[in-house]
């Protein structure tokens, strides 16, 4: 039984599923660490997904596709930053607004520019020479036969951690998120830092979208993400605003999801409702047993303005 459930392909599937959550989650982490909650991630992902898909659909160039997604993500990130940093809008609402915009706009463009479901040839699996042949525990299959974006997502985890903890920019991010007044008094331009993190978040969300439409699914349809971006935001809380935490959250969630899909094949008598609910329930339960103390950015969702 267990060997039927815990096959290498299930683990490989977990890795695949985790990819968009990691991209979006890491991006959101930067924003939240600097004190900006971006609830519009899902909308940006959808726009990024479409941009990438349409570009590849018309030009067959995966590189251009990724660039298109990045560009769209960057622009929407800029808009988000402008609204929540400069206009100091209530971040909860504006995020939902951007989500709705992305949801509608991506479908609209899809209807006008493509019309009916089409598929593209996305990033092909890229077997890492040598490593991908490791038979032991199926390691090769689990880790080293994925497409480029999957590898990129996992590579971005340590990079993000490094940026946050080892660079001047990261230091500013942490300071701005914890005590903007102090950061401001030390000559850090709070607005500038937040613009950068939110735009970075947009960039990553766009990438997350691309990873769906031109790497994992290779199709586009309205609401392609179906709320995936909101889960990504939740996973940022799960990961306690640390890149590695986000990674663990994404892996746990995706692993359970892969498991339940496998279970539906080998144990058809489990009510599928419960199977589908499992990832959500287990993520909560996991957090109940996880370490207690959190270091939430104290300035999260609080716009900064001088006493003046």
């Amino acid at each position: 039984m267990i060997d039927q459930i815990l096959t290498a392909s299930v683990l490989a599937s977990a890795i695949r599923l985790a990819t968009p959550y990691i991209f979006a989650g890491l991006g959101e982490t930067f924003g939240q660490r600097s004190g900006v909650l971006n609830l519009g991630v899902d909308g940006i992902m959808l726009m990024g997904a479409f941009a990438a898909f349409y570009t590849v659909f018309t030009t067959q160039s995966l590189l251009l596709g990724v660039l298109a997604a990045l560009l769209v993500g960057l622009l929407l990130g800029l808009a988000t930053a402008f609204v929540s940093v400069t206009l100091k809008a209530e971040q909860g609402i504006s995020g939902i607004g951007f989500y709705l915009f992305g949801l509608g706009m991506s479908e609209l463009l899809y209807q006008k520019l493509i019309g009916t479901p089409k598929s593209v040839t996305g990033f092909p699996p890229l077997a890492i020479p040598g490593l991908s042949d490791i038979e032991f525990l199926g390691i090769g299959q689990i880790f080293f036969r994925h497409n480029l974006l999957v590898y990129l997502a996992f590579a971005l985890v340590p990079i993000s951690a490094f940026i946050l903890n080892r660079t001047t920019f990261g230091l500013k991010i942490r300071a701005v998120g914890q005590n903007p007044e102090a950061a401001d008094a030390m000559g850090v331009n709070v607005a500038r830092v937040r613009y950068m993190t939110v735009m970075l978040g947009g960039l990553m969300a766009g990438l997350a979208g691309a990873s769906l439409s031109i790497a994992l699914l290779n199709v586009f349809q309205q609401n392609l993400t179906s709320g995936l971006g909101f889960i990504a935001v939740a996973l940022v809380y799960f990961g306690r605003w640390r890149p590695v935490g986000v990674l663990l959250g994404a892996l746990l969630f995706s692993f359970v999801n892969a498991l339940q899909l496998q279970a539906s094949v080998i144990a058809p008598n489990i009510p599928s409702e419960f199977a589908v609910m499992a990832p959500y329930a287990i993520t909560i339960i996991a957090l109940v047993f996880a370490s207690k103390q959190t270091e939430k950015p104290t300035a999260l969702t609080k716009p900064f303005e001088r006493g003046e």
Binding site: S9, R16, T116, S119, L217, N223, S226, S272
Partner: protein, 277 residues
């Protein structure tokens, strides 16, 4: 109803008119009718993407009370409850809804459904004969209605043609979750399936998987031949025009409802179309 010669229809559907599935099947049918009768004879408005049941209620009520439409269609079994409340309030407006066979004993309500199990049976049988690995994967939305009918038919067909064939069925509990449906398809492949089928609009990703993995695809509701390309074998396509023609004729003859229709292979409401395969 409307005094002029033009026959006017208003329809509401849960998903997009280009979903290659349920909503598109009705949209295409209305277009077909319009072609037959001509724009000057037949016009229709179509509100798609109305998965929020109450929004459909608003639309239906407005159309009914406007008195401008000869036929008001609620295309989605989730709309039945609304119609049951609404229709009695507008006895001289003709309604049609599906997929279901229940007219609520009202003589201004038509019901229509598809015997999608028939095409499912054919698809299943054919798939069973074609599979090399002896494993077939099915990706379904929620285990009800048209979807369940098709899937059950498919399984029955497969078993009938080849009793020892394995048919793995996964219901992902959503009509719209493309990523999950796609991963479900990949899971089937990983478990040895070399033939996939599925129903509802979220299967587009699964079709792409079939293509990439060199598996075969059987479809239903609308023709997915173009998307499935060389992976597509056979599609059960709904031709609601068959039902609509009768209903329109009845209404013109003054009969506003009270009948339930089933599209079948026999009456030409269901058509099996070949894929590029």
């Amino acid at each position: 109803q409307a005094q002029d010669a033009v026959f006017r229809v208003a329809a509401v559907a849960p998903s997009a008119t280009n979903d290659l599935a349920f909503s598109q099947s009705m949209y295409d049918a209305l277009l077909a009718i319009q072609k037959e009768m001509g724009e000057d004879q037949f016009q229709f408005v179509f509100q798609d993407g109305t998965f929020i049941v109450d929004d459909a209620a608003v639309a239906l009520r407005e159309w009914a009370s406007s008195g401008e439409y000869d036929l008001v269609i609620a295309h989605g079994s989730q709309y039945g409850a609304i119609l049951e409340e609404l229709a009695p309030e507008f006895p001289d407006v003709s309604f049609a809804w599906g997929t279901d066979q229940n007219t609520f004993g009202l003589d201004n309500v038509y019901a229509y459904t598809a015997a999608s199990n028939e095409g499912g049976f054919l698809n299943g049988a054919m798939a069973a004969l074609m599979t090399k690995t002896g494993v077939i994967g099915v990706v379904g939305p929620i285990e009800v209605g048209d979807a369940k009918l098709y899937v059950d038919g498919f399984v029955a067909g497969a078993k009938a043609a080849k009793p020892d064939v394995t048919v793995n069925v996964t219901y992902i509990q959503s009509f719209s979750d493309v990523p999950l449906a796609t991963e479900a398809a990949k899971t089937h492949i990983a478990n040895g399936a070399d033939i996939l089928t599925g129903t509802a609009q979220m299967v587009v990703g699964a079709i792409a998987v079939a293509k990439e993995e060199g598996a075969l695809w059987f479809g239903t509701q609308s023709s997915q031949a173009e998307l499935a390309a060389e992976a597509g074998v056979q599609f059960q396509v709904y031709k609601w025009e068959v039902v609509l023609r009768d209903i329109i004729a009845n209404i013109k003859a003054g009969k506003l409802g009270g009948e339930a229709y089933v599209i079948t292979l026999a009456n030409g409401g269901l058509v099996m179309e070949k894929g590029l395969r």
